[in-house]
Symmetry: C2
Subunit: 527 residues, 2 copies
């Protein structure tokens, strides 16, 4: 027989968990609950300070939590239903892990006495959580949930940002709790950079050309970029960002930085003369995939690799100390900063480049650009150096289906800023119900679907991996033009207005109108 | 540097894998490939006997493989892309595991030399696979893939049906292979029932009332049901099916069997006088969830539990031997068999019961009914005893999002039979792109969406778990009527025709028209 629930009016373990999350500064809960989470939902009812955002599938929930935290700079919690609910959300947890996004996952599970019954939904929740989490814990009773939640938040906020997964058996949520919620814990600081590593980095940078200064993480915000540009300009080192990044500050007045190319042969060609790589929050660049006859590392075999700052270190401080040690000029040279350039609106046939051009021309100041455009959006990055100042959020873990929820979460994490979501059509299929949350929450967000009706990247990868030319079976795996999805209908089905554009002029017009209004809007860009 | 690929024209490990799957009788591949699977896709191109079916998200892929195997009675293979691709498909693998569906998952992974690089998509594939698989193996080289595939198929076909997951590093797929594909292995037979267990079961059944004969698995097909009905009629034992079942043969002329109720208090009341439970392929009934103050087991504490046949045993043979031992009559009594009854078409307001009534009245002979209607469809089961003969496939693992892909796979596994998919709206959101595959494959399938615009079951569960009455936050987690999804638009967006019905007459008309035509159709039943 099961443990009794807290009496009406009595405080439950779930209440304690909620109080503790709020005390630690977590006040957004992205949720898709089930029966085992009903008492947590009841606790949310008693805690109006906790903003609850429903996602109609768990991949939406975890992707929103990622986007939220990238902009709000603190973790949200997710609420997921047992092992299968967690499993549905894992791909976007993977992406968040690769972005070093702080995230607290609360995963409900069967009551402890029910575990032996192997009920239909029973699964190895820990086993599912571990591959994508930095920290996994199961509560040991209602009264332990305050401390456990505080620890989860602290773990999530441990630099560079971690995934903490807390498993909540239903009877701990419904049991009576007497313990007080712990006071707010200190947010862990990034580690100071190591002097020896900085000295090696400074020496390599002083050798100038042939040295790569590779940035990731916080170093890609305005201050870090300015410091890095001063160093690169003074030494002649090459400045690059890693291939995929959680958040970059870009546009007018900001330091222009390119990324390591995705295409392996381009990356190898660009980096072939690199003799030393100084990493600030970045990892030494490797191929996104392996290809026959190609190396894993994008750096030459004899390249010296120096981590001036590991991802958990204070990368901006490392750059400050490097700049001081190298005696650079006090500001980046003008030619490193994006200046105003009039980009005309595109005309003629609608291409991926025309879409990028129109978005750059129309981008509002302070916009947040979320990019899961995969192969179609490669032109946006170099084109948008001179766009209005904006934040640029990217798919970091390669698991498609992040874009729509990432943009949704970013809009919730940064109210008052316009979000532009650049979205490949194949990837959009994975987490389509994110559009519904955009409508429910009245978010100010324009989604551009690059509708090429195919996994365009796979056509290229098929050839790149030496598989030859796609035949009939392969094309049936790569192309989804029969039937072609109707993105305007899909958006309407989710309660979001939309329009289709099949010329550059029409796209620019629709985009202008969509950006001028408030609320979510979807544009199907037929390219 | 990576291993070279097989030269053009040379046979690859992926070719060997495909040849071996075909030799073992696996000729359907449900797929959502990525870069690491390009050589497997190339091999599929050279094997036109392998039917490739694209799903636009991995939950669709694994759910289709489940539906296919339930009807075709042999496993399909799935093709999934690295750890995150597998993760997206795991919830429906969980459901398949709970249905004892045979399934071979081929999960591509990075090339072996690339693993040390911790590239963005790298994840612990084995760790993700194990919680939902009965067997997990990673290939050790291109030439091993023939034997490994044969073993995977044999494991999948080991009674009662297992999940076999084969991890395929890209370099093993692209490497040259000389080994021959192994010959077809024998399909493992179910184990013979144990005489001692049968003797105990026979003794308990002879005690008549107070003994429960609980069926699952193959015992729920026509022959098993007839044997069980003869036994129950002769002994006075109570005959029931377990709560959720992979496949039941039902309708006109077939034995009418009820299920253990989902609602715990109803199950406890029904079974309170049970003194012995004889299980044939079933597990002793437990609560789907735990509730405060309620037991886990649905049987009285002192009830004797006798497994006449474990799930891996030959349940039909067990029933044959029990019938012989008990000396029953040669055919089930007429009152146990469903007879023709004219069910009128419903009129008036459209309710869940009216939907069920119209479906029963209109159901074509030989239809396959796939049921993920959750709370809305509870009336269909008792109403449909007297419907035309049909197969009834159900969500077995409780992980919502199975219904649309299950129906899609069932239509592929049983061509020529009409599929009727009874689908809750909340659950349909999880794997919506299954509709696209229905359109692409021109499947003969009618989907009925129970559009109540809420997780209706959670309203009940909230109260049942003693959480009180839902407040503002809870209702925002349970209801998705703001905005209400437009299922006709969503279907159209996926390339499937649809219509909305908000009266019983209109629903019956639209259903009749949809069943009379060929091809996929979606009906939004606003209840």
């Amino acid at each position: 027989m099961s443990a009794p629930a807290a009496a009406p009016g009595q405080r439950s373990g779930a209440d304690l968990l909620c109080e503790s999350l709020l005390a630690q500064g977590v006040d957004h809960c992205f949720a898709n609950p089930g029966t085992s989470e009903m008492h947590f939902v009841a606790a949310l009812d008693r805690q109006p300070r906790m903003r609850c955002v429903l996602g109609l599938a768990e991949g939406v929930v975890t992707g929103m939590a990622d986007g939220y935290a990238r902009m709000a700079e603190r973790p949200a919690c997710t609420l997921l239903h047992t092992g299968p609910g967690l499993a549905n959300g894992l791909a976007n947890v993977h992406n968040a892990r690769r972005a070093f996004t702080p995230m607290v996952n609360v995963v409900g599970d069967h009551a402890t006495h029910h575990a032996a019954s192997d009920a239909p939904l029973a699964a190895d929740v820990e086993g599912l959580a571990r591959p994508m989490s930095h920290w996994v814990a199961r509560s040991s009773g209602a009264d332990t949930l305050g401390e456990l939640a505080a620890e989860a938040v602290q773990r999530a906020r441990t630099p560079p940002g971690c995934i903490a997964t807390l498993i909540l058996p239903a009877d701990h949520a419904w049991g009576a709790a007497q313990a007080a919620a712990p006071a707010a814990r200190a947010v862990p600081s990034p580690l100071p950079p190591q002097p020896a590593a900085l000295a090696r980095a400074a020496a390599a940078l002083q050798r100038g050309p042939g040295t790569l200064l590779l940035l990731a993480g916080a170093a890609l915000r305005a201050e870090g970029l300015e410091l890095a540009a001063r160093i690169a300009a003074a030494t002649g080192a090459r400045l690059l960002a890693q291939q995929a990044n959680a958040r970059v500050e870009r546009g007018l007045g900001r330091v222009m930085i390119d990324r390591v190319p995705y295409v392996v042969d381009k990356a190898l060609a660009l980096l072939k003369d690199t003799r030393a790589a100084v990493l600030v929050g970045a990892k030494a660049p490797v191929g996104f995939f392996a290809y026959p006859g190609r190396p894993s590392s994008m750096l030459p075999a004899d390249c010296e690799v120096i981590a001036a700052a590991q991802p958990e270190d204070d990368g901006v401080q490392a750059l400050r100390e490097l700049a001081a040690a190298l005696g650079t000029v006090p500001a980046p040279p003008r030619e490193w900063l994006a200046e105003r350039r009039e980009l005309p609106l595109p005309g003629g046939a609608l291409t991926a480049a025309a879409v990028a051009q129109a978005v750059v021309a129309r981008l509002p100041e302070g916009a947040i650009v979320c990019d899961e455009s995969v192969s179609s959006g490669r032109e946006f990055f170099p084109m948008s150096w001179h766009a209005a100042p904006h934040d640029y959020l990217q798919l970091t873990g390669g698991a498609i289906g992040l874009g729509l929820p990432l943009a949704t979460g970013a809009a919730i994490g940064a109210p008052g800023r316009k979000v532009v979501s650049l979205q490949a059509d194949g990837s959009a299929m994975y987490t389509l119900p994110a559009l519904w949350t955009q409508a429910r929450e009245r978010l100010d967000l324009v989604t551009v679907i690059f509708a090429n009706r195919r996994y365009a990247i796979l056509h290229g990868e098929y050839v790149a991996t030496g598989a030859g030319q796609p035949g009939a079976n392969a094309r049936r795996m790569f192309d989804f033009d029969d039937p072609a999805p109707d993105w305007v209908a899909l958006a309407r089905g989710m309660g979001v207005e939309g329009a289709r554009a099949d010329s550059a002029e029409r796209f620019a017009d629709v985009l202008g109108a969509a950006l001028a209004r408030r609320g979510p809007f979807v544009i199907e860009a037929v390219i």
